[in-house]
């Protein structure tokens, strides 16, 4: 009889859910116990405090809500939360001290083959991996703050790591001190929006084999090697700010084997190399600002059909570097601060083409030790003569109609 009533009740009240409170003064002292007692659709509200749950597995459709960021501690041994159900929400926790292992990818929050998971407003400190999505679909990761203190690449994980996922939304997270800020591998149809990724060991954002994604309005600052997009196609990169990725082997944006993508309205400031492109095809680069970089662009001869239109190049040590005479890319209507041409008919377009590759940059590409002549009298003299009579720089690498005034970007 009792069983029938319960079944009846659950049928009647399927849409309604209960609130279960967890805390030192509440009925449930641990979240694990609360999860065990909860039924589908319940909300578990966790009071402030510190909880040692070992590995908290969520295998029901639940909402976990923390009041004033209760602390979940992994004791440097465990994965903190494992999500093994669809429609789970984790909101407002402080997760710290996950285990570190070279065999298992311990994460503060890990999604196992699930859909519609929401992870919002959490603070994650000292985690191996921060938020890990393994075959997650349609999940939202928003407003989380992830901080780690990576010292070695091998001993640290990624901030937000997505593997074989689809339709992910990663919005407004702040990530620092991890190996890669955000890592995508085999992730499709996803968006990365308004994140701030800085001081990570390796890349601020790392794409591998991830197609049809977009990253928009993010800030990537002071990362070990900037942002890298590799072996992917149809990636949209809009309105991002690549800043101060400075070092011997640092890039603002590294493009390797990437096709059919768009890079628009981004700002590249003070990077050793703003964009380094290798084997990149059919990329549309428009309305970006390149300011104060070492190299604004390094386009290897393995690239094809890159279109550079209406970008501003201001105060870079070298505008464009390349390693061969074959040029299959188009430059048009860009503003170059080093352009010395004239404009007779005042249409704001220079009448003589601009050749952004200097002789010296060709020389160091062929013979790197020649870098010791950097900023010497002879190299500036050679560049000047080469400008007047081009002989060694690629004949076709030129902007036919450079702009006389910079674009208001």
């Amino acid at each position: 009889m009792k069983g029938v009533i319960i079944i009846l009740c659950s049928c009647c009240f399927q849409a309604s859910a209960f609130n279960i409170h967890v805390g030192s003064l509440q009925q449930f002292k641990t979240i694990t116990a609360a999860v065990a007692a909860a039924t589908t659709g319940d909300t578990i509200i966790v009071d402030k405090g510190i909880y040692f749950e070992k590995n908290l597995v969520i295998n029901k459709q639940l909402v976990l809500k923390g009041i004033n960021h209760p602390v979940l501690d992994g004791e440097k041994k465990y994965e903190i939360i494992s999500i093994k159900s669809d429609n789970v929400t984790i909101d407002g926790f402080l997760l710290q001290h996950t285990g570190v292992s070279s065999i298992t990818d311990f994460a503060a929050i890990k999604i196992y083959d699930r859909r519609y998971v929401t992870i919002i407003n959490n603070i994650i400190n000292d985690a191996f991996f921060g938020i890990y999505s393994q075959q997650g679909i349609n999940c939202l990761i928003q407003n989380n703050i992830l901080t780690a203190n990576a010292i070695e690449e091998q001993q640290s994980g990624n901030g937000i790591h997505c593997w074989r996922s689809d339709s992910m939304r990663i919005i407004a997270n702040t990530i620092s001190g991890h190996r890669d800020g955000i890592y995508f591998e085999f992730v499709t149809n996803s968006v990365i929006w308004r994140n701030n990724s800085f001081k990570n060991m390796r890349y601020g954002l790392h794409f591998m084999f991830s197609n049809d994604d977009a990253y928009i309005s993010n800030v990537f600052e002071n990362n070990g090697a900037g942002v890298s997009v590799m072996f992917s196609h149809s990636v949209k990169m809009f309105n991002n700010y690549f800043k101060e990725n400075w070092g011997d082997a640092a890039y603002g944006l590294l493009l390797k084997e990437i096709n059919d993508s768009y890079i628009e309205n981004n700002r590249f400031e003070k990077n050793t190399m703003a964009i380094y492109a290798e084997g990149a095809n059919r990329i549309h680069i428009e309305k970006n600002v390149f300011k104060g970089n070492g190299w604004a662009l390094k386009i290897q001869a393995s690239c094809m059909d890159i279109q550079l239109i209406k970008n501003n190049f201001i105060g870079n040590s070298f505008d464009v570097g390349t390693n061969g005479s074959l040029v299959l890319n188009t430059f048009n209507n860009n503003y170059w601060d080093k352009y010395e041409g004239y404009d007779l008919n005042h249409d704001n377009l220079g009448d003589v083409p601009y050749r952004p590759v200097s002789l010296y940059s060709m020389i160091i590409e062929q013979n790197p030790p020649a870098m010791i002549l950097f900023h010497s009298f002879i190299t500036s003299l050679m560049d000047k003569t080469e400008k007047v009579i081009p002989s060694l720089t690629p004949e076709n690498l030129k902007d036919e109609h450079p702009l006389m005034k910079s674009l208001p970007l």
Binding site: D248, A250, N367, M371, I372, S376, L381
Partner: protein, 255 residues
């Protein structure tokens, strides 16, 4: 010796060219720092000028001064004074007054706008270059009696150090492109004080990251204390050696 140095300095200051040089450097430095929005970048532009103009003015002025004071030298030699003392006093007077001009002309703006490790390195290097090129000028003038020929030689020397040497380096690099030349380049840079100075200052700037592997090899050497000591020692040698040889030559010269 002190008296001769004093006379030389007073004489140089009286002829106003050094004063003009000081004002020129001062105006140049201030305008560069005011034109560039970034002081570190201003320092980079200033470095290019320091590496070209300072050696040129030092070597030319010193050579012309020595030729013009040939009679004064003869007069001094007739006095009971050691020839070496006379020659070194002239060297000291020239070096001091030109170094002072550089210190006022470039040092004050650098201290005002960019008083950093890079700025101080550039100042020290500039002072070294001034004295080095005075010493080289003295060596050139003691070798050639004819004034026109002597000035020609000094100009050629300047051209060699600031341009031709780098051309040779580039030539060498391409000839030996198949070999690892980075470490050898450290040694080669010691043969040109201008190159050595430029590299020392560039390594202190953040543009050194652009220098890739070569820059890393140089940084590994000059970044350490003993590398720095060797660099300063080499620069000091560039002063001592020409000055000493020229003093010896002057000792035996038939005036």
């Amino acid at each position: 010796m002190k008296k001769i140095i004093k006379y030389v300095i007073i004489d140089i200051l009286r002829n106003k060219i050094v004063v003009a040089y000081t004002i020129f450097l001062l105006l140049l430095s201030f305008s560069i720092f005011n034109l560039e929005d970034n002081n570190a970048k201003g320092l980079l532009s200033l470095l290019n000028i320091v590496l070209i103009i300072v050696p040129l003015v030092s070597i030319l002025f010193a050579a012309i001064y020595v030729y013009n004071s040939a009679e004064f030298l003869e007069l001094l030699v007739s006095q009971p004074l050691k020839r070496k003392t006379i020659w070194l006093s002239i060297f000291a007077g020239l070096a001091f007054s030109l170094a002072l001009a550089f210190f006022i002309g470039v040092g004050i703006p650098v201290m005002l706008y960019e008083f950093s490790a890079t700025g101080i390195t550039m100042l020290i290097v500039g002072l070294f270059l001034t004295v080095i090129f005075v010493a080289i000028a003295l060596l050139a003038t003691v070798q050639t009696r004819d004034k026109a020929k002597g000035i020609g030689v000094t100009i050629l020397l300047w051209l060699y150090f600031s341009l031709l040497f780098d051309g040779l380096v580039l030539f060498l690099l391409f000839q030996f492109a198949d070999y690892p030349m980075e470490k050898i380049m450290i040694g080669i840079s010691a043969f040109n004080p201008i190159d050595l100075s430029r590299i020392l200052v560039l390594l202190k700037m953040d543009v050194s990251a652009l220098m890739g592997y070569t820059g890393a090899v140089f940084n590994d050497f000059f970044g350490k204390t003993y590398g720095m000591i060797i660099a300063v020692f080499v620069l000091a040698l560039w002063i001592a050696l020409p000055a000493w040889i020229s003093a010896r030559k002057f000792n035996r010269k038939d005036l």
